[in-house]
């Protein structure tokens, strides 16, 4: 572990892409302000996958890496819908997942919002209707905001969350 701390001490903060970092900083500041105002500084998100290819999940996981570090802004991905304000829903709403998604939604205390993530929930991805798919998702739940992309990059997810915060 000493090697690790030595390296941190000697290298300090490294900025790899100055242009992107500036853009990120501006978004981060705005998100933090709005979360503070509208959600008392803490916005809890329950991520539910209803049949995606796992790319949307990978990008949400990337939001926790040191570049984006969403938790610093007061946005948390929580373990239970009962702790959540918002459900972030990805995937094509498969037949087998539909009852479980509805269950999870019921468990979220009001007021609550659903944000759809990626092209799948709106059936805009290349996937086509089959017997096993129940999309579009707005047939089943009221969607407060949609974040488009296949998959949306971490930056686009942050921009989408910012738009959502401006909407409500």
């Amino acid at each position: 572990m000493i090697k690790f701390w030595n390296r941190r001490l000697h290298e300090g903060k490294v900025t790899e892409d100055v242009h992107l970092e500036k853009e990120l900083d501006a978004i981060k500041k705005e998100i933090k302000d709005r979360v503070k105002k509208k959600f008392a500084g803490s916005l809890a998100i329950r991520m539910v996958d209803s049949g995606s290819c796992n790319a949307c999940e990978a990008e949400c996981n990337a939001l926790a890496n040191p570049y984006y570090d969403l938790e610093r802004l007061g946005i948390y991905f929580v373990a239970s819908p009962r702790h959540a304000d918002v459900m972030l829903l990805s995937g094509v709403m498969t037949f087998n997942m539909t009852p479980h998604v509805k269950d999870a939604y019921e468990q979220i205390p009001a007021p609550k919002w659903v944000i759809s993530l990626g092209d799948c929930p709106m059936m805009k991805a290349p996937f086509e209707q089959t017997h096993a798919i129940n999309a579009p998702v707005d047939k089943h739940l009221k969607i407060a905001h949609h974040i488009a992309g296949c998959p949306p990059s971490p930056l686009e997810i942050m921009q989408g969350l910012l738009e959502f915060l401006g909407k409500i």
Binding site: M1, K3, F4, R7, E16, M47, V48, D49, S50, G51, S52, C53, N54, A55, C56, E57, A58, E59, C60, N61, A62, A64, N65, P66, Y67, F77, A79, S80, P81, G91, V92, T94, F95, N96, M97, T98, P99, H100, A104, A125, P126, F127, E128, Q129, T130, H131, A132, I133, N134, C150, P151, S153
Partner: protein
């Protein structure tokens, strides 16, 4: 003989059930009127899921099978429908009466059941795990999936290979390049052409880049599940760097649409510089992480899959190589010429799977240097011919198998076996001497795909 896959297709007058082994292909004829056949699961336990899937998809019964429960068709699924039959054309089905699924359970004094999922605590895909517990000890685990079943096989029927490409590359986001390479090979077989060395190298470069991203992500997540968050911060930064590089080279953060028949120029100098930097960071990571005793205390002897079991269940990929099986689709002259060395461990535990990933990242970086080329090239694909084609590719999880039958220029039957489909069936064997708190760690050390498994 290593068992690879078993699947069915409907012909004009009968069903054909095809069984793929590493050295041969067996075909059996099953009648349409009274479809029934013998199970293979007594010799190859991993055939169980294949057969249960065939039973759901086609209605073929396995008369002597010990497990006849539905697999893909869950509690509310319409009964007595077989979606892969050609006569089935419905685009939606109604929820029907809820019939509880009978889990494999161990019962007895003080033994209790723990149900986990389908929606999990973290940001991961949905799947269900049912544990029979005696206190903290896991007596048995049943893995139950197919919550993400999208009907991909049915969706692709009647499409040309070109129309199907966008869907095939999105079957499993973490293995997109591997799926695209399998499709590429099938296209080439169908047009009876050989790919130029340059294009092969470019696609192999993308595949190794994809593998590096996937492994780096896991190298962070595995220690994180053992409570060592610092590794996650470090490795997730490297994974993000690599993903950005992937976007720069392929035009997409996950490489969707990257494998085609043209080569764009790569800035050789800056890419080599970037590889040097990545290698330096990986070296630092390895040096640091190998020296954290409390972490290895959790990794060593946790989740052991013994060689004998790994062979019996026909496992592939990282899981198999960590248990001492030498199975890797990259053992061929093309890869060996470019510096491929198969990763290998024998202890079969979480530690072994972690070390395999480290070895493979190092080897991938080495190979990527050798795959760099400065030639610009266009390749023209001839007309595709009808026929049945098989292809294999080593994805970041393991051996991927794809089979496409083309008839009148469109897909008649599409079948793909993700490495996860085999390996998931071996996960319950890893729980023999561990407590339930170790399960997330063991599961993450295999890092199998749910989307590729469920289709």
């Amino acid at each position: 003989m290593r068992f690879i896959a078993r699947y069915a297709k409907e012909l004009k007058n009968h069903f054909e059930v095809i069984t793929i082994y590493d050295s041969e292909v067996q075909r059996e004829v099953v009648s349409l009127e009274n479809p029934s056949m013998k199970t293979l699961a007594k010799r190859h336990p991993a055939a169980v899921w294949f057969e249960r899937k065939i039973q759901d998809d086609f209605g073929i019964k396995f008369s002597d099978a010990y497990d006849k429960r539905p697999l893909v068709h869950q509690e509310r699924f319409a009964k007595d429908i077989h979606p892969m039959r050609k006569s089935f054309t419905q685009k939606s089905i109604q929820e029907e009466e809820y019939i509880p699924y009978k889990y494999e359970e161990i019962s007895g004094d003080g033994v209790f059941q723990v149900a986990v999922g389908p929606i999990h605590a973290g940001i991961i895909e949905p799947g269900h795990f049912q544990f029979s517990q005696a206190g903290e000890e896991m007596l048995h685990l049943e893995v139950r999936h197919f919550y993400k079943h999208r009907g991909i096989e049915k969706m692709l029927e009647g499409k040309t290979l070109f129309d199907a490409k966008a869907i095939i590359e999105r079957i499993s986001g973490n293995e997109s390049i591997a799926y695209q390479i399998c499709l590429r090979d099938i296209m080439l077989q169908s047009s009876k052409q050989e790919l130029s060395q340059n294009l092969q190298k470019r696609h192999a470069l993308f595949l190794e880049l994809e593998r590096t991203i996937h492994h780096l992500t896991d190298l962070g997540f595995i220690p994180n599940d053992a409570g060592f968050g610092a590794a996650m911060s470090f490795a997730s930064k490297l994974a993000e760097d690599t993903r950005r590089k992937f976007q720069e080279l392929s035009g997409h953060r996950f490489g969707f649409g990257a494998v085609d028949f043209s080569i764009d120029l790569i800035d050789r100098v800056s890419f080599l510089e970037w590889l040097d930097k990545l290698q330096k960071d990986v070296d630092f990571f390895e040096d640091w992480i190998m020296d954290v005793p409390s972490l290895w205390d959790r990794f060593d002897t946790t989740g052991i899959l013994p060689l004998k079991k790994a062979v019996k269940y026909d496992t592939v990929g990282v899981v198999a190589r960590a248990s001492g099986i030498s199975v890797d689709r990259r053992i061929n002259s093309f890869y060996l010429k470019h510096g491929f060395e198969m990763a290998s461990e024998i202890s079969g535990d979480v530690a072994a799977r972690f070390k395999i990933r480290l070895q493979e990242v190092n080897n991938s970086i080495l190979m990527m240097r050798n795959f760099l080329d400065e030639n610009v090239e266009e390749f023209k694909l001839d007309t595709l011919n009808d026929g049945e084609f098989f292809s294999f590719c080593e994805s970041s999880i393991g051996e991927l198998f794809m089979s496409i039958e083309i008839k009148d220029g469109v897909i008649e039957r599409f079948f793909v076996r993700d490495p996860s489909f085999i390996n998931w069936q071996a996960v319950h064997l890893m729980m023999r001497s561990d407590i339930i708190a170790d399960f997330p760690l063991i599961n993450k050390s295999c890092d199998l795909s749910y989307a590729g498994n469920d289709l």
